[in-house]
Symmetry: C4
Subunit: 283 residues, 4 copies
């Protein structure tokens, strides 16, 4: 995906060399670049997390301020280098990884306008997704593709399910609001009641909002017992799709030339129906 | 379903034309009517939700009062138009969508008798279910029918399961009530203890009611660990049924030329109904 | 089961007739007896639940006292009648339903010794399990037997799993106790910490006991993320077994006499492998 | 595993005899040793748990101190005897069970340095895992191996999934921190917000940390509804793998007479490795 949106630059040798280092990891230098980058990203995320703790930041305010700007300057340089070395900068800038790279440096500059937002730099953690590409974790990518295939296959069912859940939550929230809002300040308005219904139906159950009247508790009991059955649906969807997605790569269809029998083991040498030797090129 | 309960009216051309606009969406005008209606429903629901927030309603009380009555008059007119244009008004009024249409205007008038109930107008959100028909979301309907088929197939198992859960909750609530009610005002009576048992067994766990005595906590621990196993049952039911419901369309239909029997195993060589050899090209 | 433990009495006609009324429901009188009994049980359970609510009991203390003793006398008479009419009274008394019948009248007498225990009469709700027999809900019993078969098949796996969970909970409770007990009175002792671990691993999460120190919260986070994976295990077990249990009654094996092909559709008339007519007696 | 790391000692008869008693359970004495040991472990764990309860320890401080040191001396002696009798002491000491044995006596001595840590002796409960070996619970081991096989098969998917969840939790924690931290002291820093995100996504939901601002609650609602779909993934993984692991022993093994290939489809007519016709009697 990254490689697709970042087509090789025109043959200016300098830009070509830089592009190869930054975007590919098939040369020692390119690989070293990626590894150093990943460590810098991880370090900058840890820095931001630690900085948010008053007890740690206050005694070392200058240190954190310095570190943060070092990381920001480094990542900005890297972003500009990517833009310069790639053949179609706009296409890269609008690609998934391009937007991610931008998002991970923007909060530092946004901080100058809206204080407090620089913590969003922790979103840099998303850049670690490059890791999977660098570490050549082929097996993990294989597993991921099965998981993704299962999720993609159930996409429509999950959309339908989430729409239904949102409808249910709206109705339940309103009904409990009508029952509770006079006696219970926690149910002061419908959005608050919907928040409660979401907390309940997902079985999170903080308890910061809870019904106190008898009809409210009765309604809540019905909602919980119904939610019990509802929670089973997404699990059922993902499990079924996963079962299908996992079944497929296990059964590469090798059809016998003689009898057309299809259901062969990937390691089979002979057709298990008629005994004809299977052509090995089919794999 | 809607179309079933709303049979075409007698040939008075005016009523016929109105019926076509309101109930069908196969003409440009009929489609426009449905789209406008859906937007009006969505807007009216948003209005009601916002109105319930004191900070928003109080400064614009008149605006909300006006908006609410505009929506109510519009929906009442629409309801009467439906009743008038349809051939069998009573049958429509008692149909699923007919009742829904009534429910969505009733609270406004009920408010005049019982203050606070007009918020039930948010139940109008249920009318958005018409959306699926209008948008001709055939694929979504396909997915929905699989989900519904799985739920319908597990209907009896889920009924049985819910009955069992209600029995369990009654017994558990009573036992913990006997253990706790003297020390803990949260367990003042059995209905309250049953409410606690439902909150616990569904793993919602608000914490507004919780055992405080040692035997109460021991009993609660046993209940939670048992509930752990129980929660697996509905998931198992839905998953299994979903796997079956999803498995069916995957089974490649091989129809017998002689008798038309359709439900053959993919490996079958002969029709299992009449014994005719199946043509292998059907695969 | 009931019928098994209650063998027909010796031929004294009076006892025989009573036995037929009480234990069977194949005569109009026997059926009426069962229906009346079920309603009495349901009413007595509702009475006990309502009685536990102070606001309802206090104004009608005498009424509840009277009702309770009427039910107790009725059920005691019924219990003695069962003992007298059955051929082997001891065997009935020790059977599952016999013990249930005893348990449902005992608390009333126990109340005279230990005040407060008479609420255990709500355990009478368990007697409603007879309902399934009376109402001849054959389909429900079929479904129940599939559910029970799945649970029985996964019995050993669930035992193993619960043992593991108890071990995990013991270890986790101890570790968090060591980390928390000095700063947090909620973790005053290990049993309390184990209670917390159970509340956490089952995702109930009341919040009445929660870690407050940084290492305690870190440990709790690890426990929760691990529990995330653990909760999947019982669901997986039940789903797999349910899939198997549901698969079995659907596929009654009908073996072809000619070729031994086993995997036939229950409706198949001919072997789908060789085309021989299947013997219909195999069903 | 235990037996593997504890190779038979050199032929000094005394050490050989001791080794046989301690490590094996095939002689009456060896079996008695194991049973006594298991009871001692269980008793010592119960002692530690009871000791942590102030109400129980304070009146019997001396008793608990004595009991604890008796157990410690006994287990230390046992550990030294194991080290002495085994042929390769270092290999035993570094084996899984060897480390467990050390961990279960270390906290008593550590207590002399760091007060409060002796409660970690409750980790002794892990030594009860030897039980499965002693009781020769072959069926349970069979079940356990299916569960373990399913978990091992899904190891990579679960790793990937947990990594993703940690990433999600980091991002969600940061976003809610930015939205909440000024109004809500519960979200004072990012680690705290991450703790909240973990409590939420696992649906534990203590409620000790909860959003209070409107944007915070909206974000939390989105997180919960998303988590709803996410929680389905590990269940789906384990169920699918479990289905596969359970399916395998069900597949009747049909071994080829010629080449010994075992993994045949139940419907196969020819060996898929060498093409020899399979004997149909094997079914």
């Amino acid at each position: 995906m990254d490689r697709m949106s970042a087509a090789p630059p025109d043959p200016s040798p300098k830009r070509e060399r830089l592009w190869r280092i930054i975007f590919l990891s098939d040369t020692p230098v390119g690989r070293a670049f990626d590894v150093v980058l990943l460590w810098l990203i991880a370090l900058s995320v840890v820095t931001i997390i630690l900085e948010s703790v008053d007890e740690i930041r206050l005694p070392h305010a200058n240190l954190f301020w310095t570190l943060e700007w070092i990381f920001t300057v480094l990542f900005t340089t890297e972003y500009l280098a990517r833009l310069w070395s790639v053949r179609r900068p706009l296409r890269y800038a609008l690609s998934f990884f391009g937007l991610l790279d931008l998002i991970s440096i923007l909060p530092a500059y946004l901080e100058l306008l809206i204080p407090g937002t620089h913590y969003l730099m922790a979103l840099r953690v998303l850049r670690l997704m490059r890791m999977f590409r660098v570490l050549k974790m082929a097996e993990y990518l294989g597993e991921a593709s099965i998981l993704l295939a299962a999720l993609r296959a159930s996409r429509r069912k999950i959309t339908l399910f989430l729409t239904t859940v949102i409808g249910i939550v709206l109705v339940e929230g309103t009904v409990v609001y009508v029952l509770e809002h006079e006696a219970n300040p926690d149910f002061a308005n419908i959005p608050q009641a919907i928040y409660w219904a979401i907390v309940t139906i997902t079985t999170v159950g903080y308890g910061d909002v809870a019904p106190i009247t008898v009809p409210g508790k009765m309604m809540a009991s019905i909602i919980m017992l119904t939610g019990f059955a509802i929670i089973a649906v997404p699990t059922g969807i993902v499990t079924s799709e996963l079962g299908r997605a996992m079944g497929k790569p296990l059964a590469p269809r090798r059809c016998c030339n003689e009898c057309g029998w299809e259901d062969h083991d990937p390691l089979a040498l002979h057709c298990q129906h008629c005994g004809t030797k299977l052509s090995s090129s089919a794999e």
